[in-house]
Assembly symmetry: D2
Homo-oligomer: 340 residues x 4
Amino acid sequence: MKNKIKVAVLGATGFTGEMLVEILLDHPKVEVTYLASRTPNAIPYHKIFPRFYKKTDLLCENLNLDKAAKNSDIIFLTLPHTVSMSVVPQLLKEKRKIIDLSADYRIKNLKDYKKYYKIPHKDKINLKKAVYGLPEINKDLIPNTDIIANPGCYPTSVILALFPLLKEGLIEDKVIVDAKSSITGAGRKAVIDYHYSNISDNIWAYKPFIHQHTPEILSILKENTARDIDLTFVPHVVGVDAGIYSTIYITFKNKISKIEVTKIYNKYYKNCTFIRLLESLPKLKNVIGTNFCDIGFALNSNGKDCVLASSIDNLIKGAAGAAIQNMNIMQGWPESLGLL
Amino acid sequence: MKNKIKVAVLGATGFTGEMLVEILLDHPKVEVTYLASRTPNAIPYHKIFPRFYKKTDLLCENLNLDKAAKNSDIIFLTLPHTVSMSVVPQLLKEKRKIIDLSADYRIKNLKDYKKYYKIPHKDKINLKKAVYGLPEINKDLIPNTDIIANPGCYPTSVILALFPLLKEGLIEDKVIVDAKSSITGAGRKAVIDYHYSNISDNIWAYKPFIHQHTPEILSILKENTARDIDLTFVPHVVGVDAGIYSTIYITFKNKISKIEVTKIYNKYYKNCTFIRLLESLPKLKNVIGTNFCDIGFALNSNGKDCVLASSIDNLIKGAAGAAIQNMNIMQGWPESLGLL
Amino acid sequence: MKNKIKVAVLGATGFTGEMLVEILLDHPKVEVTYLASRTPNAIPYHKIFPRFYKKTDLLCENLNLDKAAKNSDIIFLTLPHTVSMSVVPQLLKEKRKIIDLSADYRIKNLKDYKKYYKIPHKDKINLKKAVYGLPEINKDLIPNTDIIANPGCYPTSVILALFPLLKEGLIEDKVIVDAKSSITGAGRKAVIDYHYSNISDNIWAYKPFIHQHTPEILSILKENTARDIDLTFVPHVVGVDAGIYSTIYITFKNKISKIEVTKIYNKYYKNCTFIRLLESLPKLKNVIGTNFCDIGFALNSNGKDCVLASSIDNLIKGAAGAAIQNMNIMQGWPESLGLL
Amino acid sequence: MKNKIKVAVLGATGFTGEMLVEILLDHPKVEVTYLASRTPNAIPYHKIFPRFYKKTDLLCENLNLDKAAKNSDIIFLTLPHTVSMSVVPQLLKEKRKIIDLSADYRIKNLKDYKKYYKIPHKDKINLKKAVYGLPEINKDLIPNTDIIANPGCYPTSVILALFPLLKEGLIEDKVIVDAKSSITGAGRKAVIDYHYSNISDNIWAYKPFIHQHTPEILSILKENTARDIDLTFVPHVVGVDAGIYSTIYITFKNKISKIEVTKIYNKYYKNCTFIRLLESLPKLKNVIGTNFCDIGFALNSNGKDCVLASSIDNLIKGAAGAAIQNMNIMQGWPESLGLL
């Protein structure tokens, strides 16, 4: 195991933590050294998740920050929102690199944070330093930070589809996003709403206009394009095992052709390993189990109205895969290492 | 069986025909007397669909129009689009009442028909007489016709949600509909795209801007509200067993309150048995197996941007249930007979 | 509502209680007068289950035995096992008829009850009086009791398939049952094991040899055939929305033909509305939403080894539908009233 | 790409062929050089399966044996049963190594082959040479052959569970297998039975006693243990995305303990990377996406009746994964290369 970087996962028993461990175990340049969660006694990780039997003998321990810092070079945080910001300061002080998968370091605006996450932000200093880890947009900043705010799942699918068109100033302000997600995006919780019987064969919209990912989408697009949009964001729960499918309704300011739209996407994404621009609208299942974001679009015959569709595996490109992509870039490794 | 009206179902082996037979068999005022399809030999219907065993001994015969007319008072047509219009003239000549579940008599505009269904319309005379069978909107016309054009599944969900607001002239022209449907809406066909493995856990948008239900939505709304809308209609296939969930994005011309919107819906629908106006956005599963259309809405804090959601069982309120509701009204029976 | 029998459902918020209310609301001879559950305040039932909106305005109240008795002629108990027996004595004292859907009055053997349900039985007097409500086997006893023990879901599927063959003394002792069930059979509980993600696309065997329905199957068969079997019962959870599919492996003592087996089933079941003997093995989906039990069998070419398969909707014929069938028989109504 | 072995996949558009391509593309020691199917014109593989976009630019060509032989060292055949045996002779003559995923080289008994596959075997010479590629049982033979008969999916799950106990002579002859499979095992075919609506939420038993995998299970067990069993094999289709779950009912000749059974499995499998002996019965989802076979068992309190359960991903350990495991062993590479 010489020359391998040591990594820890804090919050290893959620859906995202589990996916992170799965990918990290197969990553050629890292050694997973510490897994933690809220658990009275350390137990083998494969006793919690039997599918890891014969893949790892690691224990999942009760979270201890000193131990985490001592045993790792890079620390992934898959802790609940508002918990991450209480542990990051200590870990950064100990010179560890942090990739935080919670929402705590994504939104720079303190009012928005308080409005959507219900408590005031507790770590303003590091919030300023944190880099939003969406490599397709700000790859250059990632190697130079010790704290990555890993993007939310919905924002990843929405921002990647909108960014090039918005950056070029081609679209009207009004943008409507109808997003469909697997329930795994809501976390592994024992609530009656997530009972098989309530999800299977079901579809419903929730938190219309007020979902906490709305300010994330707006602020990241603003930071990176200097433009505002008038966003309607309506997420839906759909009875699928995994994935997010975002259908996005935009209007071009001027008549445009399919070829021109394609050129713009290629201008920004042609070197992006994990973006696949399709000739038609994507199907969700094609990205499941991968770190790809598939993007397609269809223009109305008027050349102005346009529908974009963007699909990702919400636990991979929407969480754990993106986190590893960020780690690869921080370390100067090939972006796709361990992800193909 | 005295005093019962005799009904026939032509096209009894599709998803819609099957649902129609199921509901008709339990209807207190009708006797199913003739089932037909394309089949070389007459066979017991329960041999085709074993779930009808011990519920009916009826045969499914090879389609014979004379026999259909001779054996029934009301004829339901669940034939493919473009086939219905080749059989309707003869059946009407024999003084039968027709409820046609194909698209053939829904669109009055001949150019639109040809554009979307690829062949010229063959029965212009009866096309003019046909009444669009959406009772919540034009209940008065239904008793006075012999030919009902039963609404399409997507149009039912979309028109019912939009009609009151459009009729009152409250909303901007631009309307976006993101509709999600079970694959059963596409008919019972042995194609690889409908293989379990392609549908399960999958989502995809199809026919953006160009779906054949677009002109149906536009023309019916125009006829009934005298208003045009600028419609973007994007249907999606979703891996659910049944149902349609249409999410509709509109903007009110002037700031409005939740109470006012509720009042408008109540003004039009308070006597409609099968419309349920909810206090929040609907969940698909609540309408499955029923003839209800659940409608909910959410207003943005600006009081103008609004999302409507409308859900139906695509084979019941979106097809067979609506057809029976139409029959009930044609016959002067209670609208909900056999449907609750 | 004159001449209607008044019925109450105690435990109206479980899967079974919900299904019971749904069927009872459409039953022509009863009026639902009281719904109760554990709930601090009475709330409209359709606020708990929005699919009942516009179908009933009944409240669901906090369980009060006096009120239940006062307001009803027949009381359905869909309470947890071990709770039923604490309320039955009072309700019987008040001369109400009881249909208990828990396990409390199914097993006459007190040791078995304690072994499988972990506490001693508290109501031995009424236990003796209770009739096991499987009408296909003991229809004659049902009209003469005030307390029906409604059969378990697995036992219904297994006993109905085995009874005629065992009664005739045709099969070897060794019987293996491999049963597959929807998770709804386990009740509406907020536990992580029933999370969508754990059930969808999953299959597993549980409680092999030791499931609590084992003594129920054995004792009911013994009571009704005077024969013992050597039963291996292994239930499985399968990611389906509803239903039980029991595959049963038996050996005939002597070579037998398909025709002879068919004759035996017909001897016992030819007048049973809800049993459908098929010419081949059943498919689960054909019974979903119905009160039917579909039974099929296949004989090996040796004429001795045989596989039976039996499928039911676990919440209907396996619970609520059977309860209503029992009520119909108790009241002298047609067995299938409200159930077709 | 120096030093990489060249591999071809003939029949690359079935479920198994697709999975094989997916795993081979990530395998560190091979280069996929030729993909073929029945297709009039060569087209990019990712045009057929969009999920391969940006993963491979390979064409899928119309099958040409000369070209296949010329361009590859090892050839995987995922052709339909009875087709493989018409191409194997030529390919072996050209000194290629063959891994055949059809049934053509699995059963040595010519009468059984004809009985179950409906035509006489056409390649008796190579049939004799072919090695049944189940490495956990006959690893030693695999490196010394040029033609591997890759095991069937059901037989893999059943043989692996039974082999150690049968080899030791511990169990009675009578063995009952109740197997549950995803519909993907039946191949990618456009038939109405595999329509989403027929599979979703459905379960059914098929081909009881007469499934074509029955002689495969019997003959392979006989060859490797010199023992006969009296097998009842009843497969079921279940509405799950992937996987096989086989529940196996056996009786030990003499009373045995859990520890003793565990010891026997460990004796045979302790060095088998892909077998996981569990302390309880397996859950299907834990093996999906992996090459593992999970085996668990439960003993009745009598110490004799026993239920085994064995689960695999039918397209991986039951087909493509096993084929690659065989390739690894043939080439002298680590058995698990590219499979973890």
